[in-house]
């Protein structure tokens, strides 16, 4: 039972972690505002559902909106800082995050208060044994997450843009010399990462139907930790890391809800001690 809960939480983290890890792989930038894309996704789905659209359309629209917001974020905030030290881009990312959170708090129809996401799917439970209960929402979330991850792996492995992404993350200058339009690749990375975060946002909204402008902070942070846990920059690492961290958190919450977060970070510290570059990360030898 807890395993299933953990898996579904992990699926959300994994989707978010993919966005972090892809952007990091290409720009070496920790995009702190990534968590807020989750919030944007949840809210856009909320308004579409309120307007009477079907949830599947809301899903697609949230993906598109988040992808577009991610590109916009990159063009407005990060692009002017490409040649600057990384720390500046990092601080700017924090600023963007604050701006989105507080900005949406100001907008009257989002507002500072919690909003309840409408029940779009009637909850059905399946009893497998006495203790193991699956809900249709959990199954749906897991299925969608797995589908998206497989789709993403295929995109990265097979398509032209995927190959270009890997090339840019290996060596940006060389990629540019080979005629790859680096800016386009960066935009595509942000778009895909944003779309995944949007999906995660709608999934969060369906499962835990409480929306607030600050809802993206903690999942965002934990997904980032999951990405580091799996080895930042590595795509399978983000998936594995996300799911494992989801399971760890759920297990710790079941054991003692107060210390769950502490356990979460303790596990991270321990893993980094044993494997300083994350579970599936590649260790880079320092060159002189």
């Amino acid at each position: 039972m807890q395993l299933v809960n953990g898996l579904q939480l992990g699926a959300i983290y994994a989707l978010m972690a993919l966005g972090y890890t892809m952007v990091y792989g290409i720009l070496k930038l920790i995009n702190f505002a990534h968590g807020d894309l989750l919030m944007i996704g949840a809210y856009s789905a909320y308004f579409l559902v309120i307007a009477g659209l079907h949830i599947s359309i809301a899903f697609l629209a949230a993906m598109v909106i988040c992808g577009a917001s991610a590109i916009l974020m990159d063009k407005l905030a990060y692009k002017p800082l490409r040649s600057q030290p990384r720390l500046k881009a990092l601080i700017t990312a924090m600023g963007v995050s604050l701006l989105i959170e507080n900005g949406s708090r100001m907008i009257p129809f989002i507002g500072p208060n919690f909003r309840r996401f409408p029940d779009v799917v009637t909850l059905k439970s399946f009893y497998i044994t006495e203790n193991i209960v699956l809900t249709n929402i959990q199954l749906f979330n897991l299925g969608l997450a797995v589908f998206l991850m497989i789709a993403l792996s295929l995109v990265i492995k097979k398509t032209k843009i995927g190959i270009a992404m890997r090339a840019v993350s290996l060596d940006q200058k060389a990629a540019r010399l080979m005629g790859i339009n680096v800016e386009n690749v960066i935009a595509a990375t942000f778009a895909i990462g944003g779309a995944l975060a949007g999906t995660a946002g709608v999934m969060t909204a369906i499962t835990y139907p409480r929306l607030s402008p600050y809802m993206g902070i903690m999942p965002g942070l934990k997904a980032f930790v999951a990405a580091v846990f799996g080895g930042i920059g590595s795509i399978p690492g983000a998936m594995v890391g996300g799911i494992l961290m989801g399971i760890v958190e759920t297990a710790a919450t079941a054991f003692h809800s107060q210390i769950a977060e502490g356990v979460f970070f303790l596990v991270l510290l321990l893993v980094l001690l044993v494997r300083p570059f994350g579970l599936l990360g590649k260790s880079t030898k320092e060159k002189v």
């Binding site: 600023g95 507080n102 107060q258 303790l266 994350g278 320092e286």
Partner: protein
């Protein structure tokens, strides 16, 4: 030498800072400014110590730490625990020994934090770059969770009823102490070693710098002063709550360091004051300030503050900057 041009031996920075200090004391003495302005100024002093101490770790040694608020929390809680529960101080004016006892409490808190920094640092300073950053962030959150579960200091309700012991004079003295010590540290052989590691760790090692020891030493020193500042702040606001010390606070401190310029101690001092006053100055705009603040920050960062401070406050240009 890449050291602070402002606080150099003949620098005007020291004189300016001294003048500002004397002016603050005079204004306080004559009651020229409202207690609100004085309060903001005193919070600013705590932030100066925080920013300067993080600058030692991040700006001068190049070790990216997001756990500064964690050490701050350790110092704050432990010193408040000592002053309130162990010594039962309730009033600053009770006896002339109270300020001394208070400073002793602060240093005890700082020493505890330094001990923790030593243990933590011996483990995690082997990590580099973003992995170090996330490990320190993890430490910070562990501290917050621990404090949330420590019933003796109020747990999630917060720790209140802390005596108001931070007076302007004490804060000024401690701030001066911290800035001078960190400045001298940066100018010493150890500080040069730190800079060597910042520039190129491998090259430093090959020239016989024990990089791990040097990093650990600066990490412990920086954390010591972070905890000192935590204690100073908590005896000013008289209320401690675990949520004050999350990684968000660490990022705020990092922000001051970045705005002031990495490795630039005078810059950190100025940036800490500006970034304390800015949110207060924006208060007239009410809710809008929550949006204005990050917007101004993004603009400041993209305007290249390091360059700004370097050229504005020194006779040397930013030539040869990496």
């Amino acid at each position: 030498m890449r050291l602070d041009p402002v606080f150099s031996r003949s620098g005007k920075g020291w004189i300016l800072a001294l003048l500002a200090t004397l002016m603050a004391l005079a204004m306080d003495h004559m009651g020229l400014v409202s207690s609100y302005v004085m309060f903001v100024l005193m919070v600013g002093l705590c932030n100066v110590v925080l920013a300067v101490s993080l600058n030692l770790i991040t700006g001068i040694t190049g070790q990216f730490s997001l756990g500064h608020a964690g050490f701050m929390a350790v110092g704050a809680y432990f010193s408040a625990f000592l002053s309130k529960m162990v010594f039962g101080i309730s009033d600053a004016g009770a006896s002339p020994f109270v300020p001394l006892l208070f400073v002793a409490c602060l240093f005890a808190g700082a020493a505890l934090a330094a001990g923790i920094a030593f243990l933590l640092g011996s483990i995690i300073l082997r990590l580099t770059g973003d992995y170090l950053c996330i490990a320190t962030l993890g430490f910070n959150q562990i501290v917050v969770v621990t404090l949330n579960n420590l019933e003796i200091v109020g747990g999630p309700r917060g720790f209140y009823g802390i005596p108001k012991l931070s007076s302007l004079l004490i804060l000024l003295i401690l701030t001066w102490f911290s800035v001078v010590v960190i400045y001298r540290y940066a100018a010493s052989v150890r500080g040069r070693n730190c800079e060597a590691i910042l520039e190129d760790e491998l090259a430093a090692e090959s020239l016989g710098v024990d990089s791990f020891q040097v990093k650990l030493h600066s990490f412990v020193t920086g954390s010591f002063f972070a905890a000192l500042a935590g204690g100073m702040l908590i005896h000013l606001v008289q209320l401690a709550h675990p949520t004050q010390f999350t990684f968000i606070k660490s990022i705020e401190i990092l922000l001051m360091v970045v705005v002031g310029g990495m490795g630039n101690i005078a810059g950190s001092v100025i940036a800490a004051v500006i970034l304390t006053v800015l949110p207060e100055a924006l208060r007239f705009s009410q809710d809008l300030r929550l949006v204005l603040y990050p917007l101004i920050l993004i603009i400041i960062i993209s305007r290249n503050p390091v360059h700004y401070f370097k050229t504005k406050f020194s006779l040397r240009t930013a030539k040869g900057e990496k």
